[in-house]
């Protein structure tokens, strides 16, 4: 099909045009970090005599003694060679830290998005099919409720209820029960790795750890997804082509799914992409509350310690993921909607 190649071309163009934005993010973050009033050298210097000398030593070690433009150039050069610097908080190279932590964040976010979509789409469709009915109002209300509780509160309450009081959930201490041996590293996604290793007990352990944090995150994004599903579904149910389908006697299920829902999913796809990138960056608090060893909580700790490198690395990573997600959405959209290639 020719529109696939057009889609590919479009995606390529989109990618190329997003590079300046990435560069902008890079520079902006760098400068913002330099504006932070905390001096990491001082923060990390300790010892009774930690005087000028020791602080200077750390400053030199971090390259902070150079003028800012030079630091920026060095930083850009380092990034070009794949070196994101070293975290003072964990003592590891930022790249290694991000690499080992990103799967955790991605796994959590994917699961949360999946939960959110599986909840939001049926809710939105139900609300649209029975517009103005009790179901519609209920869905609207549930969605409004979901977005008005801060994630850290819902997270803590869920832990309190399901772990502390009921004892159903496993201890909220990371990705997998500490006494379960981790699977051999393949993808870093525990659910996949356990499955590959055929260790279903471990899979269960990892899955049960995922439920609460993923649910906490999902709670917050069900609303926008359900809202857009409902609106898009209303639009396509009221559209001429659905009327056509009805007038031709197509089975109701076919009308709703193949004609209405498939068209309605296009805007949902776009929003889902945006939701995914925001979730990934905004799950700081969820990761914090659930001791989830992800990239966001890593960046938060670094930020509070004025530890530049991890924060810069994190922002760059998030921006790149944002670009990749946008691209993916573009490509999917191009596949799903033949009209795109004409524009």
């Amino acid at each position: 099909m020719s529109h696939l190649s057009t889609t590919a071309k479009r995606a390529g163009w989109r990618f190329a045009s997003s590079l300046p934005a990435l560069f902008g993010v890079l520079v902006f973050t760098f400068l913002l970090m330099r504006v932070l009033p905390g001096d990491p050298a001082v923060f990390f210097a300790s010892g009774p005599s930690a005087g000028k000398e020791e602080i200077e030593m750390i400053r030199k070690q971090m390259g902070l003694d150079k003028p800012v433009p030079e630091q920026l150039l060095r930083y850009l050069g380092d990034i070009g060679s794949g070196n994101l610097g070293r975290s003072l908080t964990t003592g590891q190279p930022v790249l290694a830290d991000l690499k080992s932590r990103l799967p955790a964040s991605l796994e959590l976010t994917f699961t949360a998005l999946l939960i959110a979509l599986l909840t939001a789409i049926p809710l939105g469709v139900a609300a649209a099919l029975r517009q103005g009915s009790g179901i519609d109002h209920l869905v609207r209300f549930i969605c409004a409720l979901g977005v008005c509780v801060p994630t850290f509160v819902s997270g803590l309450l869920l832990i309190y209820a399901f772990y502390y009081l009921l004892g159903i959930a496993p201890d909220p201490t990371g990705r997998v029960d500490i006494f379960t041996s981790p699977p051999p590293l393949v993808t870093g996604f525990l659910l996949i790795d356990f499955a590959v290793a055929g260790d279903w007990e471990g899979w269960g352990a990892a899955a049960s750890q995922l439920v609460l944090p993923a649910f906490t995150m999902a709670l917050f994004v069900v609303a926008p997804l359900a809202r857009i599903t409902r609106a898009a579904m209303l639009a396509s149910l009221g559209s001429d082509f659905v009327r056509t389908a009805r007038s031709l006697g197509l089975p109701p299920a076919k009308v709703v799914v193949t004609y209405a829902l498939r068209n309605a999913l296009l805007p949902v796809l776009t929003i889902a992409g945006i939701v995914f990138s925001t979730m990934l960056g905004a799950n700081v608090l969820v990761e914090k509350v659930f001791s989830w060893p992800g990239v966001a909580s890593y960046a938060l700790d670094a930020l509070l310690a004025s530890d530049y490198a991890p924060v810069q690395g994190f922002v760059l990573l998030m921006a790149s993921i944002f670009v990749v997600v946008n691209l993916t959405v573009d490509v999917l959209y191009g596949i799903a909607d033949p009209r795109v290639s004409v524009e």
Binding site: I58, G167, T173, A305
Partner: protein, 535 residues
């Protein structure tokens, strides 16, 4: 990077050979949760966290370690007694200038190499030469140069001092002078990095009671027992076969974990959780006032209006001590206010800090403020760092409320930790709260490190010639009576000048399963897992 790989490799090996080990009874494993993270395996690396210090005591041995003593029924470390670790015994020459260590002959590093005096020499040379944290610390015990360290024979080692120094031995028991496997370390050294700083940061080369099984910074550290280690009190390996340290940032979750029995021990709970768990009575709660620490409200003595003694005193009279202690700490700690000095002089000089005769007296405060030339008060900011918000925030609110009563308008400023450190270092914060800890809590050590000169830890920026003079004299005063007399003068002057207002020594609340034994409050405020056992 390599440690991660090693750990992964170790884990991979373990899955085949040590699966039974993983399935080891829960009883032989100790699960410890903490809010902080370990960031290096070598405590000497600038930037090491307190948790990294804690870890180093398990993976490395030193020549000696502190003894323990009971303080109000709680076991705490004792600055004045030592027990040998790698040293079998030690002798101090009569003139106090020479310390000779006899090393254990059965001690081996993790790779099986025997520990020799060469290793000790290399390690101590490194601590005083390389760009490491140990350098600054060891100089407080007159240990400054490799020339002071001499290998007598393979198992005899000698330290010479320029002057008899009471803190020389103590300095060898802190975390920095750990003994490295010098052969291994040297093999990893490079011309640019002769002390193998880079390699040791991510690898261990020690002889300690535990071996690192996996190390994920900011997540988990798993230690396995070194079966050959026998430097403990009972000359046998540590009691727990495995120690798991997990980072759980949320304090409330840590409390839940230990209460549910999922974690065995935790020492960084919020006061409220500790109090609650103590009340429930299911767990063992050992609450030790951190006798080597002070939480204070400090002024920058060089910045107006706090350069005026009356202003400082006025504020000291205006603080609602009892309320602050109750609201911020839930009464968990040892107050440093409310003493009664009969003659206006410090009752003792052998130790610092001691409770001071401070009490809330707003009338007096108002009078002093008027005397200082501020009858209508003034405006200032009061700072604390985000990391301490749990206790500092309520404290600050009470302080603000109380000072408002004498006309001082306070704006509360909560700063991220790094910012606060920077500002304090630049001596730009006029009025704030902080806490200090001395590993070696002798009276003169406190004064020398926190109240003299332009050093970073002189939070109050006090520069009193008399304090400086007395403190330096006390350092080398061998006569304990004279030492105490100097201390009495210092303590009195410290109160009179009121450079900062000591509030209390917060408790370290160690909450553990009821069957855990052997907890001792340590100088570095971490748990020495080698002492712990399960009944």
């Amino acid at each position: 990077m390599s440690i991660v790989r090693t750990a992964a490799l170790a884990a991979a090996l373990l899955t085949s050979t040590a699966l039974p080990a993983l399935a080891q009874t829960r009883a032989e494993t100790l699960r410890h949760v903490t809010g902080a993270a370990i960031n290096t395996l070598d405590p000497n690396i600038p930037g090491s966290t307190r948790e990294a210090f804690g870890l180093s005591l398990l993976t490395y041995d030193r020549l000696l370690s502190f003894g323990k003593k009971q303080l109000d029924g709680k076991w705490v470390f004792d600055l004045d007694t030592f027990k040998p670790e790698l040293a079998e015994s030690f002798t101090v020459s009569p003139d106090g200038l020479k310390i000779t260590f006899k090393l254990r002959k059965d001690a081996k590093f993790h790779d099986g190499t025997p520990v020799t005096a060469e290793d000790v020499k290399w390690s101590l040379d490194r601590a005083v030469t390389a760009n490491v944290l140990g350098k600054g610390q060891l100089l407080t015990g007159s240990l400054t140069s490799p020339d002071q360290f001499k290998v007598v024979d393979a198992h005899t080692f000698e330290v010479t001092l320029p002057k008899p120094d009471k803190l020389a031995l103590a300095n060898l028991a802190v975390v920095y002078p750990v003994i490295f496997n010098s052969k291994l370390a040297k093999s990893k050294a490079t011309p640019e990095d002769p002390w193998a700083l880079a390699w040791l940061k991510e690898n261990t080369a020690g002889s300690g009671a535990y071996i690192i099984e996996s190390f994920k910074p900011g997540e988990t550290t798993i230690l396995r027992r070194n079966p050959d280690w026998n430097r403990g009190s009972a000359e046998k390996p540590a009691a727990f076969k495995r120690i798991i340290t997990q980072t759980i940032p949320e304090a409330a979750t840590r409390a839940n974990l230990v209460e549910k029995g999922d974690a065995d021990i935790v020492i960084d709970l919020q006061a409220t959780d500790a109090a609650d768990l103590e009340k429930k009575g299911k767990l063992k709660v050992i609450s030790t006032p951190q006798y080597n620490s002070i939480t204070f409200v400090s002024f920058n003595n060089q910045m107006p209006p706090f350069d005026k003694l009356e202003v400082r005193k006025a504020i000291a009279y205006a603080l609602p001590y009892e309320d602050m202690f109750k609201a911020a700490l839930f009464g968990r700690g040892a107050p440093l206010y409310g003493a009664n000095w009969a003659d206006g002089k410090a009752p003792t000089g052998a130790t610092f800090p001691i409770p001071q005769p401070l009490k809330t007296d707003l009338a007096e405060a108002k009078k002093l403020l008027t005397a200082a030339g501020f009858p209508d008060g003034f405006s200032t900011t009061f700072s604390f760092n985000v990391g301490q918000a749990g206790t500092a925030e309520p404290m600050a609110a009470l302080l603000k409320e109380s000072l408002a009563k004498i006309g001082i308008k306070v704006e509360i400023q909560k700063l991220p930790d790094a910012q606060m450190s920077t500002l304090i270092n630049e001596k730009k914060v006029p009025f704030f709260t902080e806490g200090i800890v001395a590993w070696l809590p002798s009276m003169d050590y406190f004064y020398r490190n926190f109240y003299i000169g332009p050093i970073r830890w002189n939070y109050s920026s006090i520069n009193d010639p008399q304090i400086t003079d007395w403190a330096q004299t006390a350092r080398f005063e061998p006569d304990m009576a004279k030492y105490a007399a100097l201390g009495k003068q210092l303590n009195t002057r410290h109160f009179e000048l009121m450079p900062q207002i000591p509030l209390w020594q917060p408790s370290q609340d160690a909450v553990m399963a009821a069957n855990i034994d052997g907890y001792v409050y340590q100088f570095h405020r971490q748990i020495d897992f080698r002492d712990l056992s399960r009944k």
